[in-house]
Symmetry: C2
Amino acid sequence: METLLEKIHAVVGAAGLITGADVSARSDSWPPTGGCQAKAIVRPSSTGEVAAVLRLCHERGQAVVTHGGLTGLVGGARAGSEDIVISLERMRRLEPVDVVNRTVTVEAGVVLQTLHEAAERAGLMFPLDLGARGSCTIGGNISTNAGGNSVIRYGMMREQVLGIEAVMADGTIVSSLNTVIKNNTGYDLKQLFIGSEGTLGIVTRAVLRLRPLPRSRNTALVSIDGFAGLCRLLQVMDTGLGGTLSAFEVLWNDFYKMIVGDGSRLGLPLPASHDFYVLIEATGSHDDIDRARFERALEEAFEEKLIVDAVIAQNQQQRAGLWAIRDDIENMMSSLHPAITFDISLGIPHMDTYVTAVRENLLQRWPECRMVAFGHIGDGNIHLVLTVGSTAPEVLHAVDTLVYGTLQSFNGVISAEHGIGLHKRSFLPLSRKENEIKLMRSLKQALDPKGILNPGKIFATGPGSTP
Amino acid sequence: METLLEKIHAVVGAAGLITGADVSARSDSWPPTGGCQAKAIVRPSSTGEVAAVLRLCHERGQAVVTHGGLTGLVGGARAGSEDIVISLERMRRLEPVDVVNRTVTVEAGVVLQTLHEAAERAGLMFPLDLGARGSCTIGGNISTNAGGNSVIRYGMMREQVLGIEAVMADGTIVSSLNTVIKNNTGYDLKQLFIGSEGTLGIVTRAVLRLRPLPRSRNTALVSIDGFAGLCRLLQVMDTGLGGTLSAFEVLWNDFYKMIVGDGSRLGLPLPASHDFYVLIEATGSHDDIDRARFERALEEAFEEKLIVDAVIAQNQQQRAGLWAIRDDIENMMSSLHPAITFDISLGIPHMDTYVTAVRENLLQRWPECRMVAFGHIGDGNIHLVLTVGSTAPEVLHAVDTLVYGTLQSFNGVISAEHGIGLHKRSFLPLSRKENEIKLMRSLKQALDPKGILNPGKIFATGPGSTP
């Protein structure tokens, strides 16, 4: 009798099947370090092939973990030794951009940056943008409902998706490739697959919404003392920029100092002695009009004494210089090695109190702890990156418990944009009620009764051997 | 043994239960004409009461139809003589606006206009707006995923909802009252209840997102010849207004002529001899800057010879006058009595060809047919209103078949914002594939196995006697 892998081979061919040492040479987490334990990596080249493979796996109750660009931070792509990985890396077709309707249909394996470039060539923009743009894929962006730098203006990945084609656990293809902005014809099925981390189906294609390409861009870095002023500044900018505010990225003092301190190659655009630094960006249609509006909004903030100091980028190079400070994650991660990262949503007014409370609690337990805070304040989302000198499982758990425990009293959420995956699943009940999790499980049961899709992610289920 | 109504009475009290002639004096469709056939109308005053009532109904397999403001256009609130109606009209609590986080928590029975006013008092705006604002409710807006006039800028109701509290078919309360913009902690359960027309649960409360209140508003009516120019105008405005475009409402010549022709009280802002009229509105932050931008964008359009003529509102009264033309639905409905309305999404470039084809096909069959077209072109959504002199069921069906049949070759969608309800359910397969409908039914089966929630709406199910 043919084995499962032989049958899969017959579907996808030699180019579509990786086994043995070629599997363990690959990674299933970020940063990539090799060591994928799956018994095979299947690389289908079409939705039909994904469906045929999944049908075979479903018959046998074979657990399947789907791989995109592998830049997730919560272990959502981790595979155990009994799992089969389905990688969508060969599904990179990008159909021509529909310029009038501003849509594009892409396969799940298309890399985000490739989409950015295709949209720009057509005079349009795909607004979702994040640091991993060069390797993360559209399928991964969808299944994790990615966020990033322009959520304040354009929303998360969920808001960019018009239609989805997905393969269900039993191999059924659900092609819901809606191309229009408004479609109230029954249940909005694509929502099932957005942000469900590959546990309800495998997204193989999507119709995405594109936006007009901005013709002007104004960027400033400002310094602020006092958190109340920061909250007010957000209001002044959001109102004063009249819907053109596209980034409001806040760096706590410790983040700023770490990145630009001590003769960094990034220079020191503003003195490092203030409480907060905000990278403000607005995109628009006319250089002169938008510049006037941008300066007017900053003036309003100066008049209200919200801003201590400001530097406005005068050209693309200066703009890139300001963003480099926000984006110097590599420098930060190496300064805080071994780093533990957090991705938290909470009410904007509570953010600084929360950060202070977490820092104090951490220092009490780990006096050598160092932590920086930064994030997309306009979206109610901050990131904490910290080190206590170890990332041993019991240390990780203790740090998680403290960081999330402190969050409880602020009514915060343990994942804003990274998802739950494996790493956060034991803390899910901190952010979701019992009846919510029960309803999630009912959905999982209805759509994947054998529990073969990315088992153990979000909550513990199914027959998979995922660690 | 106590009857079901006696048990319900014990839960909701006398004020919460309507029976007999008081039921048939009420309506379950729009325009209101009385004649609700339900065996009772239950008016719970809290989520707990909704849950208790639903638990009782679930035990007995009693079908339930939920009522909001009853302004839907597809029969989604129609109840049969064996159904019980649950009206959320007594659940109108509106919690204080959270100004910094820009959220508000409301009960489902809150009227849209009441929310508008509360947001404005707090210096903010709730952007969803539609003609029925004075009577439609937030619960209805959510369960139908309402659209309206500012979708182009702010999206549909789905995009305004952060959290939902809903009661499931068996009376379980799922409280998913998320208040943050970004929350990737497991499945986004609220999506199940948005746009599912009361068939998967009863929405009792919601957390809604508010936006900055615009400080400037520019409005123009322009005339255009040729549909290609209209498509190009949309691009020029959307790019030229840099994200501040908040309405792009197109009136086909026949609509414009009907409303302003023959000495209408609305005046004649532009000659009625052109192919299309567009109401363009942009909202922003500064009168002078935004006016300059608005005029610049119109100049660009003039230079490209896209616009024949334009009138820009110089004050609020003139602005209201221009909107009155777009909003004079009453005049239109009486001119086209008895009217049949359609709500269609399709690719923008095909719209005029489609409208022409539908008109020709209708005239061939009903030479006395009159039809007007208008709509939210920027969202890919047009409305057709027509009369063939009768709305007898067999005539309605024949007109539907023709209008939707013609749509098929344009890859269009039979409902952009009105939903499916009863009236469109037999045409659902024109817009959704067999596997999509199968998946919808799986969801319905998983969440409402007895089929008691709004039975027969969207697709035929359950034990209800809905006509």
